[in-house]
C-alpha cells in the first residue's frame, strides 16, 4: 500500500469520488464542484440540465476563452419496481459492467440512504447454461433486509442506487474507487485551472462540470451550446493495461496523460499539447481514435457553432466497475499538462 502524505489532488479525488451522483441526479457533486470552483472563479452558474459553469476572467481586453470540461455523473442503478416481498428490481444508468453486480454492496437513496446487497438467483437453481453467463439484470434484485411494507414506505420507483466502494490506496500511488470515471477528470480540471490562475493565466477560463455524459453526452452538448469559447479541453478516462486486454487499446498505469489524436480533436490543439508535454518532460502517450472518442469532446466539437477540442485522458483499469483503478502520477501529469496549456493559450494569439 502506498505510504506517505496525500497530495491535494488525491484528497480532492477522495472527496469527490465518495459522493453519489448518477446521471441526472448529480446534485451532491454539483454542490461540491461549485464550492471548489467558487474559490477562485468570478462567476458560477448552473444551466437547465444541471451542469456547473465557472467563469474565471483574466481581466485582459479581448482575451480568448478556453473551455475545460469533465463530467460529474457516474454510472449506477435506478429502482424500477418495489416488490411486495421487499426486493427491488433495477435498471442500469449508463454502461454498467453487469459482471461486477452479483454480491455487490450498494446504497439505495430512498427517503433515506439504505444499505443493500445485489442478489442473483442462487447457483443450485440455475441451469448449466445459465451458470456460464453473468446473470442478466432482470435476474437480479436488491436486498435491503427490510419487509415489503417497510420498503414501500422508504423506497420509490426512480430512486437512485450507488455502489459502495470508497477510495482506497494500493501500492505505488495507485488508488481504487468507484467513479474515477470521471471524478478524476473533474478534479484534474479544477486543479489545472487553479494552478493556471495562480501562475497568471492570460486567457478567460470556463470550467464546465457537465451532467449526463454516461447516458449520451447530454449535459455537455447543451452546456457548450452558448459558450462562445475559442477552444475546449475535455478530460475523461481511457483504458489502462491489464493482463487480458488487447495491447494496442490500453495504456500502462504510470505512463502519464493520454493525448487524443483524430478527427474529433483539432490538430493544432493536439500538436500544442504534445509539444508542451515534450518540452516540459511531462509523461504522456498518444491515443489515436479514428472517429467517435466516446467522450464529451464528440458533443462539444459540434455544439452551437462548434468549438475546436483537445482531449486528455487518464488511464483507468476496470472501467465502469466499482473498482476503477488509476495512478495518482498520471493525474498529476494531466493537471500539469493542462495548466501549462492554459498558460500557453493565453500567451498566443491564435492556434
Amino acid at each position: 500500500m502506498t505510504k506517505g502524505k496525500k497530495t491535494d489532488l488525491e484528497r480532492s479525488i477522495e472527496s469527490f469520488s465518495s459522493l453519489r451522483g448518477i446521471s441526472g441526479r448529480e446534485d451532491d457533486v454539483a454542490r461540491l464542484a461549485a464550492a471548489e470552483i467558487g474559490k477562485y472563479a468570478d462567476e458560477i452558474r448552473t444551466d437547465p440540465l444541471g451542469s456547473v459553469h465557472g467563469i474565471i476572467r483574466c481581466g485582459r481586453e479581448g482575451a480568448r476563452r478556453l473551455l475545460l470540461d469533465a463530467h460529474m455523473d457516474e454510472i449506477g442503478l435506478m429502482v424500477t419496481s418495489v416488490g411486495d416481498d421487499g426486493f427491488l428490481r433495477f435498471c442500469a444508468i449508463g454502461g454498467v459492467d453487469v459482471r461486477m453486480l452479483p454480491a455487490s454492496r450498494v446504497t439505495v437513496h430512498g427517503k433515506r440512504d439504505l444499505p443493500g446487497m445485489i442478489a442473483a438467483k442462487p447457483p443450485h437453481i440455475q441451469t448449466a447454461d445459465e451458470y456460464k453467463l453473468a446473470p442478466a439484470t432482470e435476474d437480479m434484485c436488491i436486498d435491503t433486509g427490510l419487509s415489503g411494507r417497510r420498503v414501500r414506505e422508504l423506497v420509490s420507483v426512480g430512486d437512485s442506487v450507488s455502489f459502495d466502494a470508497a477510495p482506497a490506496r494500493l501500492m505505488n500511488g495507485r488508488i481504487t474507487s468507484k467513479t474515477l470515471d470521471d471524478r478524476a477528470g473533474l478534479c484534474v480540471i479544477i486543479e489545472a485551472a487553479r494552478r493556471a490562475v495562480e501562475r497568471g493565466a492570460q486567457c478567460d477560463i470556463e470550467i464546465m462540470a457537465s451532467t449526463q455524459e454516461e447516458v449520451g453526452l447530454r449535459g455537455a452538448g447543451a452546456g457548450a451550446f452558448d459558450s462562445g469559447a475559442d477552444a475546449a479541453i475535455v478530460v475523461d478516462v481511457t483504458h489502462a493495461k491489464t493482463p487480458d486486454c488487447p495491447d494496442d487499446r490500453a495504456f500502462e498505469l504510470g505512463s502519464g496523460a493520454a493525448v487524443g489524436i483524430g478527427p474529433n480533436m483539432d490538430r493544432r490543439i493536439t500538436a500544442r499539447l504534445i509539444e508542451i508535454a515534450e518540452k516540459g518532460d511531462i509523461p504522456f502517450t498518444r491515443e489515436v481514435m479514428g472517429g467517435d472518442t466516446g467522450t464529451n469532446a464528440w458533443a462539444v466539437q459540434v455544439a452551437g457553432l462548434g468549438i475546436p477540442c483537445g482531449l486528455v485522458s487518464i488511464p483507468v483499469r476496470y472501467m465502469h466497475t466499482s473498482s476503477e483503478t488509476a495512478d495518482m502520477g498520471d493525474m498529476e501529469a494531466a493537471a500539469e499538462l493542462i495548466c501549462r496549456f492554459i498558460l500557453d493559450f493565453g500567451r498566443r494569439e491564435n492556434g
Binding site: 459482471r99 454492496r105 427490510l146 501500492m171 466497475t321
Partner: protein, 343 residues
C-alpha cells in the same frame, strides 16, 4: 446478540488453512474463564466447559472458524496475482470485489478486462477463475513480491454493517455459529460440554472428523449457516430456508440423517420457548456432521443453521432474528441433552 463480538469475528481473515487469527481471538477472549483449551494437530480449538452438573452423555458442540476465500497461485510479470478459490465460490461473484492479501492485509481488487475491450458477443460470459487476477498496484513481479508471496491467502474485504433487520458481512458462514458458541460458553452451561471451533470445513469438512475422534462424543450439535434461496421467482420448494423464518433444523442432508429424538426435542424446545424455527427443506448440502459420520463414529447428530442469503459470497446477509433464535435454541438444548437417557 453481541454485535461487537460478531463484528470482530467476521472482520478477521481466516480462510481455510489460515484460521490462526480467528483462533487467537477466541483464545484471548475465553482465557480469563479458565477452562482447559486445546489446539489439535490440524488446528481445531477445543474448549472443555464444566457444567453445573456432571453429564451422562458426552456432548460436543461445533462451529467452523474458516471462511471461503482465495489463495495466490502465482505472480505474473506485470505484478498481477493469479489465484485459486478455497472453498466453493461461484466465480461470478468475484469480479470487481476487494480483498486483503497475506499477513499484512495488502489491499487488492479482483480484476478482469474492462467490458468495452471485450468483443460484444463475449461480454456477458462469466469469466472463469483462471481468467481473473488480483491487482495490488504493483509495477511488476519483483515489486509485487515485496508485499505478498505465492501461497498467501486472500480474504474478502471486511465490511460489517446492519442492513434492515439483517447483518450484512463477509464470513457470516460460520462466524455466526462461532459467536453463538462463545456467548453460550460465557453464560455457563448446565452439563459439561466440549465446544469445538473447527477448521477447514469449507474444503471438505476436514477438521471436525479429527476433533470427533479425540472427543468421541455421544451427541454432537453442529452450529452452522445454510442457504436461504428465498429470492423472487424461486419456487417455494427450492428455497431451502427462508431468511427471517427462524433457526433451521435439519432432518437430513447429503451426508447425515439427523437423530430423530434430537430433532423432535429441538422442535419442542423451540415451540416451548417461543423461538422462531423452520425445518430445512431439501436434502442438499452438508456440514461438519458429515465429517463426524464419515469418521465412523456412532454419534447422534443435530444441526441448527442460520439461513444466509448470498452464502459463500463477498457479502452475505443473515437475519438478526434467526441469529438470536439459533443461539437461544442451542442454549436451551444444552440444559437438557447432557442428562438424556441413551437412545
Amino acid at each position: 446478540m453481541d454485535r461487537r463480538l460478531l463484528r470482530a469475528l467476521c472482520s478477521a481473515a481466516g480462510v481455510s488453512g489460515d484460521e490462526g487469527r480467528v483462533r487467537d481471538y477466541i483464545i484471548d477472549r475465553l482465557l480469563p474463564l479458565g477452562y482447559p483449551m486445546e489446539v489439535d494437530n490440524i488446528g481445531n480449538l477445543t474448549v472443555s466447559v464444566t457444567g453445573r452438573r456432571r453429564a451422562g452423555q458426552r456432548v460436543m458442540v461445533c462451529a467452523h472458524m474458516d471462511e471461503v476465500g482465495l489463495i495466490i497461485k502465482s505472480v505474473d510479470d506485470n505484478g498481477f496475482l493469479r489465484f485459486e478459490t478455497v472453498g466453493g465460490i461461484d466465480p461470478r461473484v468475484l469480479p470487481s470485489k476487494r480483498v486483503k492479501v497475506g499477513d499484512r492485509g495488502v489491499t487488492g481488487v479482483i480484476g478482469i478486462a474492462a467490458i468495452h475491450l471485450i468483443k460484444r458477443g463475449e461480454r456477458r460470459k462469466a469469466p472463469p477463475v483462471e481468467k481473473l487476477y488480483i491487482d495490488i498496484g504493483a509495477k511488476d513481479r519483483d515489486d509485487a513480491l515485496k508485499a505478498v508471496n505465492t501461497g498467501d491467502y486472500a480474504a474478502f474485504e471486511p465490511d460489517f454493517s446492519a442492513m434492515g433487520g439483517f447483518i450484512r458481512s463477509k464470513a457470516l458462514d460460520d462466524r455466526v455459529g462461532a459467536a453463538a458458541m462463545i456467548e453460550l460458553i460465557e453464560r455457563g452451561v448446565e452439563y459439561d460440554a466440549d465446544f469445538v471451533f473447527t477448521v477447514q470445513e469449507e474444503v471438505g469438512l476436514r477438521g471436525a472428523a479429527i476433533a470427533a475422534r479425540r472427543i468421541e462424543p455421544d451427541i454432537a450439535v453442529v452450529m452452522e449457516t445454510t442457504t436461504a434461496a428465498d429470492f423472487p421467482g424461486v419456487d417455494v420448494k427450492s428455497r431451502i430456508t427462508k431468511a427471517g423464518g427462524g433457526v433451521a433444523i435439519s432432518v437430513m442432508d447429503r451426508s447425515t440423517i439427523y437423530d430423530r429424538e434430537l430433532v423432535r426435542l429441538a422442535v419442542d424446545t423451540a415451540r416451548r420457548k417461543g423461538l422462531a424455527f423452520q425445518i430445512k427443506q431439501g436434502t442438499a448440502g452438508g456440514n461438519d456432521a458429515g465429517a463426524i459420520q464419515r469418521a465412523a463414529l456412532p454419534v447422534r447428530m443435530l444441526a441448527l443453521s442460520v439461513p444466509c442469503r448470498g452464502l459463500h459470497a463477498p457479502s452475505s446477509a443473515c437475519s438478526v432474528r434467526d441469529i438470536d433464535a439459533q443461539r437461544e435454541l442451542c442454549g436451551a438444548l444444552l440444559e437438557v441433552i447432557g442428562g438424556m437417557k441413551n437412545a
